[in-house]
Subunit: 249 residues, 2 copies
DNA sequence: TCAAATTTTGTAAAATCGTGCAACATACCT
DNA sequence: AGGTATGTTGCACGATTTTACAAAATTTGA
């Protein structure tokens, strides 16, 4: 591992995630924490990132800060993503929505598998082009400043011409009666279109978001094929979903 | 093994893998490490690759680079970008290609101006969505791993439906006779399409890239409306271009 | 305030780099 | 062909850089 590769990795990671932990990078790149510390110092001097106690954050100020619960939920999301990775196989065509869980999924894709991903999410796309084999196609459109995804007619039109093997749906709330719901109407439109463009819909969500609902409905629970959470499939919270016919992982 | 053969091997390897280790090449080609070291130094001076401690990485992957001479060039790019900003006005429709100069331009846009940008560049789009007022539309398509832009039919098709007031063309070499040229054929296709979708083409380039050319031609010099470099418009290097009718800034 | 985590500082081992030099090959000239 | 000039290669050596480990100092959060 060349030093410059670490630099690239770190800057890229900060760009995508807005924050990185020193210990995470050290473990991921298999070098000592001291080395990463030196890297962070150097990149800070270059102004590429801003080093802080315990890691680094983006040097350019950002609109939205990460909430406490999001940091807490990160390990859950990582668990979920690692389960989702197992659904990938050589030469499959994947559709990925936005959200931090999907971003984590993109990061965890093994280096030696080759397939194609369509996504309207800017961070997910940034993460995917760092992968040596995955072909990434960005679904263009008007970019939402907070969700960092393409929305609107262009994106939906592109989706209508496409059929993917599997859709990984990131955020969203799932409730037995209300179904899959979202806060933003335009996001709902996009997700509806995504579901129609995929043979199979896999919802990735932390258990917090189960049995809660938002303003607008994307689809009924029964239209989701697979649900991946950090809980064991036998957990009592999930039993009603299994009875509805969802595959649980 | 001829020296040129080694050169080709190394450049090719860097192009494919984005990185090479000095020791690996030496072992693979059965020559001493010193020889490879000399090769790397030479190729670095030619700008074909970027030599780093322990090996080399792709020079086109210079988005997050830090080398002295590139920092020097960065100041130029910043100068150029600040000149280009003045061409923006309220409610205009802008098309931006990729490259670090355009990225710098995106960074320097004042907070209080509102307009619309179309771009196929992932880094430029990331930068633009941090702006409070600018509406950003991403031109989707297959993503190039090294240039980090959308290429191919999708992108070109989207461009064909669109007419922008002004196009900021980032990278590329400009020569009086050869015109505007590029190394990569697919990028050439994209840039041609971009030019057709804009009323006016503004080329942003550091003076290093003037009077040099690459493999493929995008257009003739006369088809460019405005040229922005870090030099004064009265500089002798630029006089022939003014005589061709280009506006110089 | 205390304990845990993180940073700083110093150090030693390993890897890498630059340089001079001799051996060899190639190009050029007579 | 012979000789000279030029360029290339591999090796040796010291200088420099990079890295990991350890101990002390500092910061963080409860």
């Amino acid at each position: 591992m060349l030093r410059e590769e670490r630099y690239n990795y770190i800057v890229n990671e900060v760009k995508i995630r807005n924050r990185v932990l020193l210990t995470d990078i050290a473990r991921k790149l298999n070098v000592s924490e001291d080395t990463i510390r030196r890297d962070l110092n150097h990149l800070d001097e270059q102004g590429k990132i801003k080093k802080v106690h315990g890691g680094a954050i983006s040097s350019s100020f950002h609109l939205y800060s990460y909430r406490e619960d999001q940091i807490y939920a990160h390990e859950h999301k990582s668990t979920i993503a690692s389960k989702a990775v197992k659904l990938l196989h050589e030469n499959c065509v994947v559709l990925m929505s936005g959200g931090t869980t999907n971003l984590e999924l993109a990061r965890l894709i093994p280096d030696n598998i080759r397939f194609t991903v369509f996504t309207p999410s800017l961070p997910v796309a940034m993460q995917l082009i760092a992968h040596p084999l995955v072909e990434t196609i960005f679904i263009g459109g008007r970019l939402s400043k907070d969700a960092q995804i393409a929305l609107g007619g262009d994106a939906i039109r592109t989706l209508s011409h496409l059929k993917a093997d599997i859709l990984f749906m990131g955020t969203g709330n799932l409730d037995l009666d209300s179904g899959l719901t979202e806060f933003d109407w335009e996001v709902v439109q996009l997700k509806k279109a995504m579901m129609e463009s995929a043979k199979k819909t896999v919802v990735l969500t932390i258990s917090e978001k189960i049995n809660s609902s938002q303003r607008f409905k994307i689809c009924a629970t029964s239209e989701v094929h697979t649900l991946i959470t950090e809980l064991e499939p036998s957990h009592s919270l999930l039993i009603p979903f299994r009875e509805k016919g969802l595959e649980l992982i």
